[in-house]
C-alpha cells in the first residue's frame, strides 16, 4: 500500500517534535493540523480575544464549529463554544499553544515520576508511578532545551535534579519584582531561581533576543524570540523535503486492517462550506492532538474489532483527565513594582514541590507575567474594592503598578472519574461526535492547593506586602485547560494504562501517542518541556522501528 512512513496528527508541542525527528531520520512524514498557520499579525493584540482573556473569542483557535459538551451547575447538558469556561481549550493552529504560551520550561522532578510509591494511593484516586524515571527522560529534556532554546540558570535551583548539560542561554534580565521577592524569600530562608523560559535571552537559533514586550503570554512574539514548535522544529522538518504539513485538516478517525491494526487515517477538510474526506495510509501513526482530542479520536475510531474505540479494551481511554489547580495571591506593595519589562515572570521557588508534611506533592510558585490592564481588572482586584465609581478608577490608577501576583501549578491527584467521553448526539462542523467532559479532580488536589496558597501569602508577607488578597481554591472541579494531560496514561499493565512506556498503544504495533495524554501524573510544574522530552524519546523509538529494529 503506498503512503507515508508516518502520519503525525496535531502540530503542537508533541507533534511538531515527532515530525522533525522522523523527517530528519530520513522518513516521509505527513503532519496534519486542524487549525491554521498563523502569523504574528493573525494572532494580533486584542486584549479581549486572546488565549489569556477570552471574553469574546480567542486568537489561536479553535474557532466556532468545534463544540464540546458538559453538564453545567444545574446538571443540564450544554454545548460549549471554545472560549467558554468548561470547554478546557488549549489552542488549535500550527504550533498550537506553543505560539502563544508563556514558555515556562520546567523539568519535572524525579519524585514526580514516583508519586504512588512516595505518598501511597489515596482512596478513590488513580495515583500511580510512571513506568519510566526522571533519568530515562533526562537526555531528552536536555535535547529539547538545546534544540528549541531555553534560557535559565541551572545552578540557582537548589531543589532541581541532576542535569547532563547547562541551559543554552543565561536567564532573562532581572526586574523590580525580582529584587523585592528575592529579599522576601531570603528573609524566609527559601531558595529561589530564575524561571526557565523557552525564550531567547540572547540571539539563538538564528533568531533575535527577547524585546521585553508587555504582551508575552496569550500572544505571539513581535520579534520571533519565543521558541515554539512552529518556528523551530516544524520548519526544520519541512526543510528536509520529506515532511508535508497539511493545516486546516481534521483527522476524523483511525483506519485499521482486518486484524485491527492501525494503517491509516481518514482526513476531513472544508472548502467553501463543503466537507471532503479521504483516507491516507502510513506505516506508523502518531497521535499528538492534546489530551482531550487524542482521547476523542481514539474513542471515535470504533469498528467491529474495536467496538469501544481503539486502545479502549479496558475502558481506560479518556480517564484521569487532569491539569493544574492554580492557587494564587495578590499583594499591594509599598512602592511601584512595575517596570514594564516583559515577560514579567522572573523568580520562582521549587522548595514546596515535595516534602510538605501531611500534604501529597505540592507545586512550584512564581510571580506572574505582566497582566494587561483589563486582565488585571477582571482577575486581580481585591474583593472589597467596588467594581465601579471613583474608588475603582482610583484603585486602577494608584495600584496597577504596585501589585505583585504569586501563583503556580499544583500537582494534581488524578481521579479516574475525571474523563473524556464522546457525545454522539452533538457533532462538530465535520460531523464528528464531540468530546464530552465530566467528573472532578480528587479532594487531595484541593488540600494541596490550600497549602500552596498559604505559601503564596507567606512570600508576599515576607516581601512587605501591605495588603494581601485572593482566595485558596475551594471544592473539587474538573481540571484540564491549557495544561490538560493524563487521558491515555502510559504503563506496563495494559489493563490499567493505554500506552506502553514509549507511548505505543497497547496491542497496536503502529500506533503511538506523543502528547500530554500519556502523562501518568502532571507534576507541580508547567508541563510543556516534559511533553517535548517524551516526544523526542518516543519519536526516536518510532524511527528505530521504521529502520527495522
Amino acid at each position: 500500500m503506498s503512503g507515508y512512513d508516518a502520519i503525525v496528527i496535531g502540530s503542537g508541542a508533541g507533534g511538531g517534535i515527532a515530525a522533525c525527528v522522523l523527517a530528519e531520520s530520513g522518513f516521509s512524514v505527513l503532519l496534519v493540523e486542524r487549525g491554521e498557520q498563523l502569523s504574528y499579525h493573525d494572532v494580533g493584540r486584542d486584549h479581549l480575544r486572546n488565549q489569556r482573556l477570552s471574553a469574546y473569542g480567542h486568537n489561536a483557535g479553535p474557532g466556532l464549529g468545534n463544540p464540546r459538551t458538559a453538564r453545567n451547575a444545574q446538571g443540564e447538558l450544554v454545548a460549549l463554544s471554545p472560549w467558554q469556561g468548561g470547554y478546557h481549550a488549549n489552542a488549535a493552529c500550527v504550533g498550537s499553544g506553543t505560539v502563544v504560551y508563556g514558555a515556562q520550561a520546567w523539568r519535572f522532578l524525579p519524585q514526580d515520576f514516583k508519586m504512588a510509591s512516595i505518598y501511597g494511593v489515596p482512596p478513590g484516586s488513580s495515583l500511580a508511578d510512571w513506568p519510566i524515571e526522571y533519568n530515562d527522560l533526562e537526555p531528552y529534556y536536555t535535547r529539547a532545551e538545546w534544540e528549541l532554546g531555553v534560557c535559565g540558570d541551572d545552578r540557582a535551583n537548589a531543589h532541581s535534579a541532576y542535569r547532563s548539560k547547562a541551559y543554552p542561554m543565561p536567564p532573562m534580565r532581572s526586574t523590580l519584582q525580582h529584587g523585592v521577592l528575592k529579599a522576601g524569600a531570603d528573609r524566609l530562608g527559601w531558595n529561589t531561581s530564575p524561571v526557565p523560559l523557552l525564550i531567547n535571552s540572547q540571539e539563538y537559533g538564528g533568531r533575535p533576543a527577547c524585546a521585553a514586550c508587555q504582551h508575552c503570554v496569550g500572544f505571539a512574539c513581535p520579534v520571533d524570540a519565543k521558541n515554539g514548535t512552529a518556528n523551530t522544529v516544524i520548519p526544520r522538518a519541512i526543510q528536509t523535503g520529506r515532511c508535508e504539513l497539511r493545516s486546516s485538516t481534521m483527522a476524523k478517525r483511525l483506519v485499521c486492517d482486518d486484524d485491527g491494526q492501525v494503517i491509516g487515517v481518514e482526513l476531513a477538510s472544508e472548502l467553501y462550506g463543503e466537507i471532503s474526506t479521504r483516507v491516507v495510509y502510513a506505516r506508523k501513526v502518531i497521535l499528538s492532538c492534546g489530551a482531550i482530542e487524542s482521547a476523542r479520536l481514539l474513542l471515535n475510531s470504533t469498528s467491529s474489532q474495536h467496538p469501544s474505540g481503539i486502545g479502549n479494551r479496558y475502558d481506560m481511554v479518556g480517564r484521569n483527565l487532569q491539569g493544574h489547580y492554580y492557587p494564587g495571591a495578590m499583594g499591594l506593595m509599598p512602592h511601584d513594582v512595575y517596570d514594564g519589562i516583559g515577560p514579567g515572570v522572573v523568580i520562582s521557588t521549587s522548595r514546596f514541590n515535595h516534602g510538605n508534611k501531611g500534604i501529597i506533592g505540592g507545586g512550584m510558585i512564581a510571580n506572574e507575567f505582566i497582566m494587561t490592564p483589563i486582565t488585571y481588572w477582571h482577575r486581580a482586584l481585591p474583593p472589597e474594592v467596588p467594581r465601579w465609581g471613583q474608588a475603582n478608577k482610583d484603585w486602577m490608577r494608584d495600584n496597577y503598578r504596585r501589585t505583585i501576583h504569586i501563583t503556580g501549578p499544583v500537582q494534581e491527584i488524578p481521579s479516574p472519574s475525571a474523563r473524556v467521553t464522546v457525545n454522539r448526539e452533538v457533532r462538530d462542523k465535520y460531523g464528528i461526535p464531540v468530546a464530552h467532559l465530566s467528573g472532578a479532580t480528587h479532594e487531595e488536589t484541593v488540600r494541596t492547593s490550600a497549602f500552596m496558597w498559604e505559601r503564596c501569602v507567606e512570600w508576599l508577607q515576607a516581601s512587605n506586602a501591605q495588603h494581601i488578597w485572593g482566595e485558596a481554591p475551594r471544592g473539587a472541579w474538573l481540571s484540564g485547560g491549557q495544561h490538560q494531560a493524563g487521558t491515555c496514561r502510559m504503563g506496563d499493565n495494559p489493563e490499567s494504562s493505554v500506552t506502553d512506556r514509549w507511548g505505543r498503544v497497547h496491542h497496536q504495533s503502529n500506533l503511538y501517542i506523543l502528547d500530554s495524554s500519556i502523562h501518568v501524573t502532571n507534576g507541580g510544574f508547567n508541563p510543556v518541556l516534559t511533553i517535548m522530552a517524551l516526544a523526542y524519546r518516543g519519536a526516536e523509538k518510532v524511527a528505530s522501528e521504521l529502520n527495522g529494529h
Binding site: G44, R45, D46, H47, L48, A55, Y56, G57, A211, A212, C213, Q214, H215, P222, V223, D336, Y338, G340, T372, P373, I374, Y376, W377, H378, R387, W388, G389, Q390, N392, K393, M396, R397, Y400, R401
Partner: protein
Amino acid sequence: MLTTSEMSALEALTDTIIPPDDWPGAVAAGVCNFILHLLANEENWHVDAYHLGLAALDRLARGVHDLPFDGLTLAQRTSVLEMVEQQSQEAVASGIETSWLGLVIRHCAEGYYADSGNGGNFDQLSWAMVGYKVTI
C-alpha cells in the same frame, strides 16, 4: 441601535461607572462607542437588556428625584446606582436588575481598559493613566 434619549442615558450611566477626573471619564474615552460596537456584534443578544435596563433606570431616577437619569448630578446618579446594587425597594419596583448593572460595569471596564482596536480607550489614555506602556 439605541435612541437619542437612550444614548444620553447610557452616557450618563457610563460616566457614573467611570467618572471623569484628571483623566477622562467613560464617555470621553470612547466607552459608548465600544459598547455600541459590542452590541452590534458578539453581545447582540444583550440589546434588549440595554433597552429594558435604561428605561428602568430612568423610571427609578424619576421616582426618586423627579428627573430623568441624565438630568441628575454625579452624586445623585451614584446614589441611584447604589440603590440598584443594594436592591432597595424603589429599585426593585422599577424592575431594574443588578445583573444588568453588572453587565454594563463589565462592558465599561472593557471599553475603558482594553486596546483601542476595540473601539474604546481613545489614544490609549487609560493605559497612560495606569502606567501600562507598550514599548514594541
